[in-house]
Every structure is written in C-alpha cells, then in structure tokens.
Symmetry: C2
Subunit: 475 residues, 2 copies
Amino acid sequence: MTKVMERSVVKQLKHIFEPKSVAVIGASGDLGKFGGRAFFLPLETGYRGRLYPVNPTRSEVFGVKTYPSVLDIPDDIELAIIAVPAPMVLNTMEECIKKGVKGVVMISAGFAEIGEEGKKLQDQVVKIAHDAGIRMVGPNSNGIYSSRVRLNLLYYRSPRLGSISFISQSGTLGGYLFEWANSKGYGFSKFVSSGNQASLNVSDYLEYLGQDPDTSVIVLYIESVQEGHRFVEIARSVVKKKPVIAFKGGRTAVGSRATLSHTASLAGSDEIFDAACRQAGVIRCYEVTHPFDLAEALAQQPLPKGKRVTIVGSGGQCVATADACASLGLELPEFDADTKRRLMELLPPHAPVPTNPVDTAAGGDPMTGPLIVDLLAQLDYIDGIITHGPMIGWGITPERITSLLTESEMVTSIPEKYGKPVVCTAAARRQGRGDVGYDLYRHARIPMYTTPEESARAMWGLMEYAEIRRKMDQS
Amino acid sequence: MTKVMERSVVKQLKHIFEPKSVAVIGASGDLGKFGGRAFFLPLETGYRGRLYPVNPTRSEVFGVKTYPSVLDIPDDIELAIIAVPAPMVLNTMEECIKKGVKGVVMISAGFAEIGEEGKKLQDQVVKIAHDAGIRMVGPNSNGIYSSRVRLNLLYYRSPRLGSISFISQSGTLGGYLFEWANSKGYGFSKFVSSGNQASLNVSDYLEYLGQDPDTSVIVLYIESVQEGHRFVEIARSVVKKKPVIAFKGGRTAVGSRATLSHTASLAGSDEIFDAACRQAGVIRCYEVTHPFDLAEALAQQPLPKGKRVTIVGSGGQCVATADACASLGLELPEFDADTKRRLMELLPPHAPVPTNPVDTAAGGDPMTGPLIVDLLAQLDYIDGIITHGPMIGWGITPERITSLLTESEMVTSIPEKYGKPVVCTAAARRQGRGDVGYDLYRHARIPMYTTPEESARAMWGLMEYAEIRRKMDQS
C-alpha cells in the first residue's frame, strides 16, 4: 500500500477541485497551447484563489509575473497544473512534491497513450506522486472545471453555473460536450477530463462528486471501466443520493477498436458494462448529448411518483410526444369522465373531444393553457406533465398575465405546488419577440427542449431515476 | 368522375405553388390571426406576383387597399387563400369559382376535424371546387411556402432558400419543424400544411414535387395515408428521381389515439406503413427532426457507391461516430498497409498508430488534416467521409491556407473531385471567432451537424438512398 492509499480520495480531490492556490507550470502567452489557456482561462473566469504562472523562459504571461520554478513561488501551492513537454514532467513533478503541493492536474501528453515507453514514464510519474501521498488527474487530461472556486481550464470561456457534474474519459469530446451543454443553457458544477486515469479513475471522481454538495446530477462519458466491482459499489451508493447517467464509447466492434488507440484502453464488453449499469442503477444513454438533456431535467425538477404522463399542446406535437413517451415505456392514462367534462369547459368550442394527450387547438383563449395544466396536475393518476410551449399566448404582456392569473395559477408553479415535474418543448430561440411566457419558464427553471423526443426522454429520465430510487429504498 | 379529375394534378398544383396573382380572402391587420399573417407574410417576404387583400369590413390592411369581395378585384386571380370563418366559406368559394380562380389554399378550420357537421360542410366545399375543375389545399391548413414565387404563409418570416420540400399533415408541428430546419441553416423549396386533405393529399403533393425542378429532396410528416396503393406507386416513381424521407406520427397506440382527434384520421397500422415505405423506397425516420438532417446531406452531397465510411477527427468523436455508424449498418474498412504507412507520415509523432477511424490527435500541423482526408478519399474501398471540424486549424487566416494548399487540395473540394460525400461534426456556433475553416465548409455546402450521431445518420441517409437507387435500377 502506497502512502496515497492511506488518505481518503474525497479529501484529496478537494485539493484538486477546491484549491486555495494554483500554480500553472508551463504557462505561456499562446492561447493556441494548453499552457496558455490553462493560465488565461482561470484568470478570465475569475478563479477565486491565488494563481501563479511558472515558466523559466518568460518574465510574464498576460501581464502577470512568472516564476522560473514552482519552488520560487513565495506562497503555499495547493494545486499544480502541469502543461510542460513530457521529458520535463519527472523533474517538474519532483519540484511539486518538494514544494508540498496537495494535488496535480497533468495536462501533458506523451504517456501510455503513445505506447510502451510512454507507459513507463507514466508509471514513474505516478509513483512519485503516490509515494508523496498525493493524487493526479491525467496525464493527457484536457483539464478540469470547478464552479465552487471558478477554476476553468477548458476552451469554453464562461461556463454556466449549475449543479451538473461531468466526468469525461475523452478530452476533446468532453470539452465539446461541455460547450454543447453550456450552449443549451445547462449549468455545471464540476468537469474533469480524466485522461489516461493513471492515478485517479472514474470511480474516484464518482466518490468525490457523490458527496459534493454542489453536484446534483453526474454525467459520465466512459470508454472503459477500471476496477469494475469498485465502480459498481461506488456508483450504487452515489445513485442512492443523486442520479448518474452514462454514455459509453466503444459499444460496437469498430468503436471499441477506436478506443484502443484513443485512451490506451480496450473497451470492455458492452454486455458487462450494461449489467454493471443495471446493478448500480446508472442510467445509460446511446447518443452523446442525451445524458445532458436528462441531467437538466433531473437537476431542476422534482421526482415523479410513477411513470404516468400527460401531454398538453398542439396536435402534431401531441402525437409525436405521445409516440416517443410510449416507445420509452411511459404511460398516458385516459382521463376520467369528470376530468373530460371539465376540460371541455376550458377548451375552445372547435377543439376535439379531450383525450390524453390534450390537443389545446389553435385559437383558443391563450390563458386557458395554465388552467388546463393545473387541472391535470391535480389528478392522482398523473405523475408528470409535458407542455408544448409555455402555455401562455405569444407576445402577451406581463401585466395581462398577472391581471388574469395569480402566480400560483401559472404552469411554472406546478412543480413546487404538486411535487410533479414539468418539461416543455419550445423553439430554440424566441428572443426579441417579447415572449414573456418563455421568460417565465426560464426563470422558473422548467427545462425547455427543442423536439418532442427530447422532452419525452427527459421525462423518461426523471421517471426512470425515480423508479431506481424506489427499488433501492425497498431493497 | 368529376371535372377536376380530368386535369393533371401537376398542372393544378402549379396554380397553387407558382401563382402569378393571389387574393387573400379574410385578410386582416391582426398578426395574431391567420388572415393577418396570410397577407402580411407574402408582402414582407416579397411575393413575386400581384397580391390583393379581400375584406368587406376594412378599407385597407397594412397600407394596402382592400376589396369587399374577390369579384371586385380588377385583375385575374390565379390563387385564392381563404381565411374566413367556416360559415362564410361556401359563399366565398362560390365567388372564387365565379371569379375563375385556378386554385385554393383553405386556411379556414371547423370542418371534418370537429365532427360530422363539419365533415358535411367540407364535402360541400370540395364539391364546389371539383365541379369547377379546381383543387384545394386543406381545409384546416396552416398554409404553404413556395420559394419560386417567394410566397410565404408561415410563421417564419424569412425562409432560407434551398431544395428541400416538406409535406406536413400537421400544421403547427409542420410550421415548427420548418422553422427548426431553417434555424439549422437548411433551405427550402416548398412547404405545404396539407390540413384535412379533402381535395389534395400527400400522394398529389408527392406527384407534383417529384417533377418540380426546384425540389431535390422531399420530407413527409404523415399521420395516415389515403389511397395506399396510389401512394406507393407515386412514391416509388418519385424515389427513382429524388429521395423521399418520412416521419410517421401515431406509430404507437397512444400516438395513434392522438391522431384521431388531431387530423380526423385514424393512423393506419404501423406495419402496413412500414411495408409501404420499403416497397416504395421511402426512407423512414423515428424522430421528427431527423428527416431534415438527412435531407440536408442528400440535397448537398453526391451519392456514395457503397456503405463504406471513414472518420477523421479527435479521439472521442471518432469513437462515438464509429459506434453510431456501425449501429446503422455502415462499414468502417481497415486500411491497407501502404495507406497506414502514408498516414503515419502525415500524423504527428505522438498520434496513435493509424486505424479507421483516424485519430488525428491534438497538436499536429493544422494543415495535415486536408491531406489526410484527400488521401483517404482516393481509396477505392472508401465511399464517404465524416470529419470532425473543418480539418483546418482554428483562427487560421485565409492567406495562410491558400499559401499552403491549393483549392483542389482542400477538404471542401472532395465531393466534386472524387464524387464522394463529406459531412462534418462541428460546434453549432463559431461566429465571431474568425474561423475561416467553418466559413469554407459553409460556402462549399458541406453539411455540418452538432453531434457524432447526427453526422452518422446523415451519412447513413446518403448511403441508404444510394442503395435504394441501385436496387431500383437493377429491377
């Protein structure tokens, strides 16, 4: 047992995700290089600790005085971010140990991913770290993000704050998806590009994020799982507290072949991974962006009591959403006679006889939408609601809304009032149209998706996780 | 046989999609109403014919003099757009016939979709039209769009020009998808919200679009098919010339229940529809937006000779794209020894041993990407290429590119040079970053998608349609 194993992973990862001081070793002024971004981005995002650039060949980067070595910094350094060429890593690591750093993010590449020689160097680096009792992200990591201390080492310059955390075994795709999810409006707590996972692997990050109060949902991009049993054990204990959603790269033969060259790891059997997910209660997705759509709903909405859903909107959206829900195993209960009668009173005269999904028909009073949703949310056989648009007429003024409805009558109050989740399908961009309905939804954190299938999947994610939790509580 | 049946559908639909003069009956100044939009939108989009508003209660709308009746217009009227309340429709229709209009778009609702009484009224309206030998879109249509004459009756105010045509049995969802596809940058030739299909149905529109020189791909949103045999016959003859891609609403029991109330039509058996698609060579999709992603590739790229694909990009993107391709039945052939050797010369030293997909690894010479793609495009066992990003370094100047590569060496020249399709996965928005690579792709009409799965599906669509055509040519 090396010295590192005596210390708790959680405590060690706190040094990495919540450092009070950071040295960027290999900091440069070139934003085309990791060393440039790794210093510039934390500076720009407003890292809340003390940040020092280390570079023996330059006196300053981005206007900040550099130090020739980490040993020259007149301050304690909690986290070292290393972005120097591979041949310089051993020496840099030894200096970090001498300095007493508590954690390392190793951006440098040229280790196990390039073959046997690189693997040897990687083993030496890990031994130095572990002998000194510290842990390391990477090597070959694209960096980390932590909202708590505003530490951002990624391409994306202003990550949106939120409670989704994302562990990615792929650096470039991970960063790409982080940016994609940000552009959708989803907010993040932590991100880690785990690289070659020489010192810390997915299970370690899961353990840390499981207890992290800033994280409410965890997304994984995984190519292979080290220590399978430990993964299942840790994931299962995390899932009891918060949802874990995984996409696995390398599920086909050619995809698996590609992972070998990518992260120096042959993807394990897909059946084994699938069984592990089922055992641990990890929700699995099959397109790279789907976990984030699910995560947004899980981060914002209450958990439903069952899998019974109602859909309120216009005809074709109702049809496509109903198909998608049914395909995912969700139920659309038919309404009782009394509910049908009350719906007919609310719907415009030309609307079809109400059924589930409810076609609100065009041209009705724009204010009846909220009343319909409120009526349906009260039904004890409805567990969640998907609306099409914000159920408020286009371009209506806030004054007209508040003159017609109290706050508690609006759709946005449903999740809190009834403890039932609401998600919405809405066109991506309604800006500049003065649409107060969308603003209200956004403010109330009702997740908005652009297609019926995305909304259905998000509702499925909520219902699936709720079921996983119910089963776990029973066992 | 009514008089209408004697005339060719194609000729009659030309009056509707390429009219020289249009009367909007029920034109109003209220953009919240169909009658307002149906006059304002063609005005704003620059309809290339003569446009007349009809409204007996107003002297002008949007600054244009109105006529009390279509009979008062001192000009021939080729197309009448009718957006008056249902009780006024019979009289309006009779006036249109008297005026000698050649086609009608019936926006008005309150017909078969509201029950037996509405159905009777609908039958009367259709009889008047057909007895006079003319055809009608709708009733209960949300309108049409025709790029040829810039006639736009939809919500979306400035449709992007292109060669995709879209027939939608759902008005609201159809308009929504039309807007969604426009926001993705896909361009349209024609759109029709077919409404209750009392006079013209999907088969009629297909027949017209099949011979329309402005249309290169046809997308269908279908809930039910009338005249199944005719649909298969027409679709099959159209597919010999251009691809037809369909999404069907109501494929599940609850979805089917929803179609009944939506378009007054019970969705047919999903198995029968599926068999019809296979017989006709119609490509079927299972999410509402997927047909448009496929259509964009089919509209812009050459047809591949087989289903063998190569992927060039960064690690995780390669893995996820390879998985998606393999899941769709595409092949990723391994490279021959000579190609591997030549790839190793092009790739940076730290890149993994080249395989298919090709992981270009970060940090290499940004100009080697195009050379790699060109090398692979020449292989006789590769039929199509998926790249990650535009294969040109970020923020590089046009001058530097042209100093290093001739135009015919760029990835954008591959489709024309080798007759092989290229599609690309790229972050949605790179604007303001001065990224000339993306600009070149956009200019060259290389389809860009935001996820590995979208790119894989687009390539699948190209390969699937090419196979359908090969089989048709053989039979």
